[in-house]
Symmetry: C2
Subunit: 342 residues, 2 copies
DNA sequence: CATCTTCCTGAAAGCGCTTTCTCACAACCC
DNA sequence: GGGTTGTGAGAAAGCGCTTTCAGGAAGATG
């Protein structure tokens, strides 16, 4: 069989190195991997040969022979949302400390390609980390049944055979509701995130539960970007809400921008609350009241879970990481009816 | 030899599929890849078997046998900068259209790990795309000499045997200088990006050249984040500059925030100009005058160059993509000395 | 009806590496 | 000194796939 890499010059193989160093390929492998004792003088010759020939082991061949790739795959919905880079940094750090590379893929918020991408990742990674997967539960069941190490981040599905870590979105939204109720708000609106987002439904679940605080909530379809927030916010004044909750900070910021244009003062006439607490130091026009997601923690813990799953093969209970309320400049008590004229 | 994947249940191989379908492995391969005509009834049996067994081809084995991985690797300095996700989206689109996966790695602005990461990518990808690499020219020379398809994005190094595409940073900064000069500014400050950034030195080169317009420039060390901008901006008033240029929009936004805190009005007392024109719709506190980098174009073109390089093996001249000036709210004519009291 | 194509299919080799297995040699013990 | 153990290096098998090669069954031809 001929060299298949048409056009490319012949690659240096481990045998070439062996030949140059006057030893067998096995010995080269042993030297390079430190898997067995080798005569120091031979080892030196091998290292020299490696350097001279510019040898780099072929990852595919190693993967095949070792039965593992040394890579973990991460799927994220959207890199443009600052939430995910933060998670990724933490994941990468953990992966590197275990000597693994990270392969990132983005779905661009298109749930229909998620399944394929995950399959792809499974074919070329030792383990897969799914960040906020939007796919349906049934798809997730199929994937987790594949018996391939897989961890979920920011999506908990009861009864699934995969470990999961998530920010406690429900708790986070409850915190927000408590804050708003305490300020005296009664009617709130919610700019809803992607319909297929579990994180979104958790927020909604909390909003429903918050009826116990005496809050009544209007849900408005929106999305996950500032542009969505800007557009959907036009509907808010019509709802009679005195406070606006949102799917995330970006949406909230977009909404605030629209409110300003419409002449609605924030927070005097409308309180607006974000979600996630993304880092936008000195960039955003408004210092949002929001809840913070422990992104670094999430990434770290998910990556460690995955590592455990890959090496030891056992998994634990879903873990919820608490969110924290940060009260800043975008919330205030509602204006009383009598004040409206003022 | 035993199965090396300790702990994991036996994986389904192509032979298993063949056995189940009552054909040889070769036939399965042919059916799955469509590389040769196969009796439709056999093909159907194969497809059934694949479905039943949940077979997924092992990417490493395929890579080894085919001599290619079906993957391109992209190295970016920092995912948190919205610039790169935009590029990545375009790259991914092109890669997918050629049936390749994209593997993303981030250096976190640490030039010292760049070299290793690139080596890693080369070992497991058909081609590598380096976005704004910070490494020294000499390192780059070593890497490009590796005879592995490699394309540079936003870094042009004369005499390098690798194709390159870049935004025309020099031209972009010239546009800015022209705009400022035309407004009547004479003294400008520049918040400099990472020292090791070629993109930064291009901006500086333009700033020097702009002396011909009668501009005098003070360079202040800064960085690439809004936080850096915020911090470094404190030095600006001391320079006597009436206009501030920056490494990027994030820095500019941070600087504007600081100016406000210091009671310096933008643009009345100080014009501020960004760079890149990142998309921050309805999020940022200021609508910046800036120049736009054609991020999608850059990513697309770079990915296509890489594809050409991988398949046809030849490369072209470095390409500069023009930037465009967007005059918005952060620039204005300087106040004359006499007006200062006003 | 024998022979030559054509077409498909299975067998087998090989991609580059790791990891046995095997064996030569040396050191050790009684 | 013969037998035993231990050590380190090479040979070879095998990871799962693709692709060449060779051969059997149809179909075409004279």
């Amino acid at each position: 069989m001929r060299n298949l890499r048409q056009g490319r010059s012949t690659r240096v193989t481990i045998s070439d190195v062996g030949a140059a160093a006057g030893v067998s390929a096995s010995t080269v492998s042993r030297v390079l991997n430190g898997t067995a004792k080798v005569d120091p003088s031979l080892a030196a010759r091998v290292h020299d040969a490696v350097r001279q020939l510019g040898y780099r082991p072929n990852a595919a061949a190693q993967g095949l022979a070792r039965g593992e790739w040394g890579t973990i795959g991460v799927l994220v919905p959207n890199l443009a949302n600052p939430y995910f880079p933060d998670v990724l940094k933490a994941v990468s750090a953990v992966a590197r400390s275990h000597g693994r590379r990270v392969m990132v893929m983005e779905t661009d918020e298109d749930p229909s390609i998620e399944h394929d991408l995950v399959e792809d990742l499974m074919r070329s990674c030792d383990g897969v980390l799914l960040c906020s997967p939007r796919m349906e539960r049934s798809d997730l069941v199929v994937l987790t049944a594949r018996d391939h190490p897989l961890v979920l981040l920011d999506r908990i599905v009861p009864g699934l055979a995969a470990p999961a870590v998530s920010a406690d979105f429900f708790g986070g939204m409850m915190l927000i509701c408590g804050h708003l109720a305490q300020l005296g708000h009664r009617r709130v609106a919610y700019l809803s995130g992607p319909e297929v987002s579990w994180a979104n439904s958790e927020r909604i679940r909390a909003l429903e539960a918050a009826k116990a605080f005496g809050l009544s909530v209007t849900i408005l379809p929106c999305g996950s970007t500032s542009r969505c927030g800007y557009e959907a916010a036009a509907e808010v004044p019509g709802t009679g809400a005195t406070a606006l909750t949102t799917y995330n900070d970006l949406v909230a910021l977009g909404a605030v921008a629209r409110m300003r244009e419409l002449g609605v003062r924030v927070p005097e006439e409308l309180s607006v609350v974000g979600f996630d607490d993304i880092e936008l130091d000195h960039v955003a026009h408004t210092s949002l009241t929001t809840v913070s997601a422990p992104r670094g923690q999430l990434g770290k813990q998910a990556a460690e879970m995955l590592e455990t799953l890959m090496t030891e093969g056992h998994d634990g209970e879903p873990v919820y990481l608490p969110m924290e309320l940060h009260v800043r400049d975008s919330t205030a008590p509602p204006r009383m009816a009598g004040e409206l004229a003022g």
